[in-house]
């Protein structure tokens, strides 16, 4: 619960602390994020604020139903739109068409960052699940990166569900929790968090207050 910001990963760099230690940081462009719709219990069955980010400059490429939706909110069309479930009090703080301030986060806060991880294609068990593979010597024959046994014999007579096997890896929603906000630049719409975030450069991100630090 609670509103967050939408952003775009610009890349990583490093900055120096006062004591000379180097901090790896991810630079995220957050905002300008605008409220594109407010959903309430009476009409939609739940409370939520819909937020848009990354204005589309070529308006002619936006289809008419979408354009109508953004026109209603009084904003230009956005490429990345997400909903945040909010409480009644939060509902009153934001108006449709208004910008969500970057002051939502302060330096030193902890945030959860959600993105789509880089796709790795069809990956074997060594890459996908961290299996060790088979020994490289002592007579191993054509069995170097295999996963070994996947079950028993007549009992149980089947392979259990959830068995770790090769398959598609990456390109799915990943959340990294408890990243520390190192720096905020209001004028440049830039947020810097300590550590890495999911996805490639220019990938879209959802940034929310850290769930595990809310009560503290």
């Amino acid at each position: 619960m609670g509103i967050g910001l939408l952003g775009k990963k610009l890349g990583m760099t490093q900055i120096f602390n006062e004591d000379g230690t180097i901090v790896p940081v991810t630079v995220i462009k957050v905002g300008p994020c605008k409220v594109t719709q407010k959903k309430n219990v009476e009409k939609d069955g739940y409370n939520a604020i819909q937020v848009g980010f990354d204005e589309i400059t070529k308006v002619k490429n936006v289809n008419k139903p979408l354009k109508g939706h953004f026109d209603k909110a009084g904003t230009s069309p956005m490429a990345f739109v997400k909903e945040f479930r909010v409480t009644d009090e939060e509902m009153e703080q934001y108006e449709t068409g208004n910008e969500i301030p970057m002051e939502l986060f302060n330096i030193g806060d902890f945030v959860d960052v959600t993105g789509t991880s880089k796709g790795k294609g069809f990956a074997g068990v060594v890459k996908r699940h961290g299996f060790k593979g088979a020994p490289a010597s002592h007579g191993t024959h054509e069995y170097f990166r295999h996963g070994g046994s996947i079950g028993q014999n007549m009992t149980p007579g089947r392979t259990f569900k959830g068995m770790k096997m090769p398959g598609h890896m990456g390109n799915k929603r990943v959340t990294v929790q408890n990243l520390k906000v190192v720096d905020i630049r209001g004028d440049m719409n830039i947020l810097m968090v300590e550590g890495a975030v999911p996805g490639p450069t220019n990938g879209y991100l959802i940034i929310k207050k850290a769930v595990k630090k809310l009560g503290k």
Partner: protein, 116 residues
């Protein structure tokens, strides 16, 4: 590299230090904190490597101490570096002087750079 990141990195760069090149004889004065006391330590040697750009740049200084080769890598823009003093420049023909590691004594000496 993104332009914004370039801008952000430029803010953290230290422009007060002299330019150092591979092959230079340098004295690096670093701040050392012991408890609440601060003192300056000097590391003197020849620059054998420079790598990275903007704030991520670092350089490696090599010296021979009591017959043992010692190398130390410093981030160029670190706030822990007090000053850098360039005591001499040598004529070198490559960007990484790793060959010095295999040379001893007089053979490991570099020729001084002459102004043209």
């Amino acid at each position: 590299m993104n332009e914004m990141i370039d801008l952000l990195e430029k803010e953290h760069m230290r422009l007060d230090l002299p330019e150092i090149n591979v092959g230079d004889n340098v004295k690096v004065y670093t701040k050392i904190f012991e408890g609440d006391k601060e003192r300056i330590q000097v590391f003197e040697g020849v620059v054998i490597r420079r790598r990275g750009g903007n704030t991520r740049a670092s350089f490696t200084v090599r010296k021979v101490s009591f017959g043992v080769g010692v190398e130390k890598t410093f981030p160029i823009h670190s706030p822990l570096i007090d000053t850098i003093e360039v005591t001499g420049k040598n004529r070198v023909r490559r960007s990484k002087l790793y060959f010095l590691r295999n040379l001893k004594g007089k053979a490991a000496k570099l020729k001084e750079k002459r102004d043209r």
